[in-house]
């Protein structure tokens, strides 16, 4: 291996040419290094994305149409979008509030303390990798034979499923989603709380301020933009989530990701082959709006902070 080096480099010959490239425009050879990455991402990310976005505007014969998109605003598909947005907004608000409280409890503790380590690591697991295991965690807890269900039925005399199989419907999804929304809030919001300097609190106290004046005039205004940003991120996260809902709900498709599952697993009505792609486009649009508002918000803030 090492024997190759002197032959391959030939420092005298190649260096001046390359240096010339670095000063002005990079040489063609310099661009070639980026080709494998760009080719890979082109094939496996850009191509599928384009396929979905353009497919949304085509009928089953490939002709241009707006039919798929107008279908988004009718019947079950539209209802699914409304439910998805409701579910995402509700769990984003719950997640943001309880997550912010938990973040505060972690942030006021020791920087390298055990509590912080455990909460942050556990939050990472639930926020990003929960998926299917989370659905089974709920079956074990409040499923028909779950620990809590059985306890309440045998010892307290309450049947939590007396009304309906709510765990497998929207209320159940809301409850399960808080289990990854609260942890995601911790991960996203912790850097903002860490950014509050203890000196500000001391300055407030030495000027005769109380806890209330501190949060009203210092902490609150500083944390509002990151809080709203995190809220939007949580919304996008819940809106995109699929695995937990798919493992929990096997019948019916109350939310958009499950509707898309229906299209992929073959419950397709003839002539609507591209409706799944239109649903995908709809999801991308909703997520992009949430992300776009977030970017604008943070840009605004960056202006005042300067």
């Amino acid at each position: 291996m090492t024997a190759v080096a002197p032959v391959a480099t030939t420092p005298g010959g190649s260096t001046p040419a390359k240096r010339g490239g670095a000063a002005g425009r990079p040489s063609v050879a310099a661009w070639l290094v980026a080709v494998p990455f760009l080719a890979f991402v082109g094939i496996f990310l850009v191509y599928p994305t384009v396929l979905v976005l353009f497919g949304a505007f085509q009928d089953s014969n490939g002709a241009l149409t707006l039919g798929n998109l107008t279908t988004l605003f009718t019947g079950v598909v539209f209802d699914a979008f409304v439910r998805s947005i409701e579910l995402s907004a509700l769990t984003a608000v719950i997640g943001a509030i309880f997550g912010a409280l938990l973040t505060w409890a972690v942030a006021v503790g020791k920087q390298e303390g055990m509590v912080r380590r455990v909460v942050v690591a556990a939050s990472g697991v639930l926020a990003q990798f929960g998926g299917v295991p989370l659905a089974f965690a709920f079956l074990a807890t409040i499923g028909f034979e779950g620990l809590v269900t059985k306890y309440l039925r045998d010892n307290v005399g309450i049947d939590i499923f007396a009304g309906s199989a709510w765990l497998f419907e929207l209320p159940g999804l809301t409850l399960v989603y808080t289990f990854f929304q609260i942890p995601l809030m911790v991960i996203v919001f912790l850097p903002a709380l860490d950014g509050l300097r203890p000196q500000w609190r001391e300055a407030n106290a030495s000027l005769g301020g109380t806890s209330w004046t501190y949060w009203r005039h210092v902490g609150g205004p500083i944390l509002t933009p990151p809080f709203l940003g995190a809220l939007l991120l949580l919304f996008a996260n819940a809106f995109s989530a699929y695995a937990t809902a798919a493992a929990l709900v096997s019948q019916g498709s109350p939310i958009v990701p499950l509707q898309i599952r229906g299209f992929l697993t073959g419950e397709v009505v003839l002539g609507q082959e591209n409706l799944g792609k239109a649903l995908g486009l709809g999801m991308v649009i909703v997520v992009s709006i949430a992300m776009g508002v977030n970017v604008l918000l943070q840009r605004r803030v960056a202006k005042w902070v300067r």
Binding site: V52, A137, A140
Partner: protein
């Protein structure tokens, strides 16, 4: 003093309440997976994990995938990102945009576009579950990009590279002997994150009909909830150990930076 005491009490209450909220399902999983016949305790569900051939096969697939995806991610990302910082700053924005793009496109949407693509992949490369490596490398890009980017930003890449080049090192040597050792903590971080993500991935595997750990766990749940719950508990604990270890990796780097 009064407000400090209040703060401590409030903190304890929050940690306790939310702690119970999050730990209860774990206890329930442990309880459920050790249920035997007629109210007794038994480890049948846990031994069932090893006995289930389909499950073990899927676990091997997932473990292999976590390695191949992490390797492909590193091979594609590290040279490109280092090169962009050194020689191709024009590409900086494009590569960042591409790497973060998967955050704006939910996996469930991506899989709609990948389904026709994978018809071709499986035609050329066979239908091994390992072909999922391509899809998973895309999924881990945003996380890996941030980790590698932070690693590269923390070192003086230009000076290091120029020093090595002036001593006659080839670009490959610069990458392998200078860049990689200097950002190894970031690379370990990126790899652990991608391992955790691949082991937990369900959406793409299940909709492209590949047999991975999560797909099997979900299927198994329909006939034997106990085993599925036992595996789910293991998955959560394993991911926790990975991320907990990661928190120490990050800490070591902070300390060395301070020392310098």
């Amino acid at each position: 003093m009064g407000s400090l005491v209040k703060q401590r009490v409030l903190r304890t209450i929050i940690l306790l309440v939310l702690g119970v909220y999050f730990i209860l399902p774990l206890i329930a999983m442990a309880e459920f997976s050790t249920r035997g016949k007629g109210g007794s305790r038994s480890l049948e569900s846990w031994t069932g994990i090893v006995d289930d051939e389909g499950l073990m096969e899927a676990l091997v697939n997932s473990l292999l995938l976590s390695v191949t995806s992490a390797v492909l991610m590193l091979v594609l990302l590290v040279p490109t990102m280092a090169w962009i910082r050194l020689r191709l700053p024009q590409l900086q924005r494009l590569v960042e945009f591409l790497c973060l793009l998967p955050l704006a496109i939910p996996a469930i949407v991506l899989v709609v576009g990948m389904a026709p693509l994978y018809a071709w992949v499986n035609y050329f490369l066979g239908d091994s579950p390992l072909t999922l490596t391509f899809a998973y490398t895309i999924l881990v890009l945003p996380f890996a990009y941030r980790a590698v980017d932070a690693g590269l930003a923390a070192i003086d890449l230009k000076t290091l590279a120029e020093a090595a080049r002036s001593l006659g090192a080839s670009w490959f040597t610069v990458l392998w002997k200078v860049v990689v050792p200097n950002i190894r903590v970031a690379l370990i971080g990126a790899s652990l994150l991608s391992v955790a993500l691949v082991l937990g991935e369900f959406t793409i595997a299940s909709l492209l009909n590949f047999d991975t750990l999560q797909v099997q766990v979900n299927l198994l749940g329909k006939r034997n909830a106990g085993v599925s719950i036992a595996v789910s508990l293991l998955c959560l604990l394993f991911a926790f150990v990975l991320l907990f270890a990661l928190s120490y990796v990050g800490q070591r780097r902070r300390q060395t930076v301070v020392e310098e």
